[in-house]
């Protein structure tokens, strides 16, 4: 999947990294160690549940964040970025986590245009890493 979307990346460097291949973890984007840690801490059941929740809930969470931003609700936008940051850290969605931190800062500084760029970046990044997480669920050993 091409990652040449520099015009819609967040305020920090555009993540124009080449995809390592469908199903492969990408350095800087996904962290297999986080998934292994979830499995160690709560078994494959917890791992699967967390991945399913992440895949199922993230689009709605991003939509809520965007709605908050468009309503100029900086408190709610910042809160939504903080919560998503926490979840993405758990799942090892590294680039998303970094973007969420940027989103929190944009909310703090009331930088709405930059906040929209962050959300655009989060949307793209989620679509980028989604196949990898879906692949983890398809793994019969998971």
């Amino acid at each position: 999947m091409s990652s040449d979307h520099g015009d819609v990346h967040g305020p920090s460097d555009p993540s124009n990294r080449n995809n390592g291949g469908a199903g492969d973890a990408e350095a800087g984007h996904t962290d297999p160690e986080a998934i292994a840690r979830l499995e160690r801490q709560g078994g494959s059941k917890l791992k699967r549940k967390m991945i399913q929740r992440f895949l199922g809930n993230t689009p709605g969470k991003l939509a809520e964040s965007r709605a908050a931003l468009e309503a100029n609700d900086d408190v709610l936008f910042r809160r939504s970025m903080h919560k998503l940051r926490s979840t993405t850290l758990l799942l090892g969605a590294l680039r998303m986590s970094t973007l969420c931190i940027e989103g929190e800062m944009m909310a703090r500084d009331k930088q709405h245009d930059e906040g929209r760029e962050v959300l655009d970046g989060l949307d793209l990044e989620f679509q980028r890493i989604r196949p990898w997480f879906e692949g983890l669920l398809e793994d019969p050993s998971a």
Binding site: G42, G43, K49, M50, F54, H82, S86, L90
Partner: protein
Amino acid sequence: MSRHTIAVVEDNEDNRLLLRALLDDTYDIQEYGSGPGALEGLASFVPALILLDISLPGMDGVEVLGIIREDPRLKALPVIALTAHAMIGDRERLLEAGFDEYVPKPIVDETILLSAIERLIAGSQAKPDSSGA
């Protein structure tokens, strides 16, 4: 032998899921998604220990702790701070605020959390004026 109850105050459901998975083999868990909700629950039930997220919406963890420490029933209750902020000085700041321990998120080494819980509950149970489940 009865199990101790731990109150988990954390607004992120994914974090609560993880904490429950880490703890429910050994402890009973009472979950709260907000500071006011936790304070309301603590009015009728005192756990053996509280895991308290710092970055709660509205009333943050430090404010919740302040209210807890003002309550004679709860002031000796062990409270562990959970926070994604891991800057230098954060631990000292939180301990000065009245937390008994501090565990950074994400929880990379769960043995740190588990041993802190065990140590703090044992310590509070040993005190003559301890309050706990």
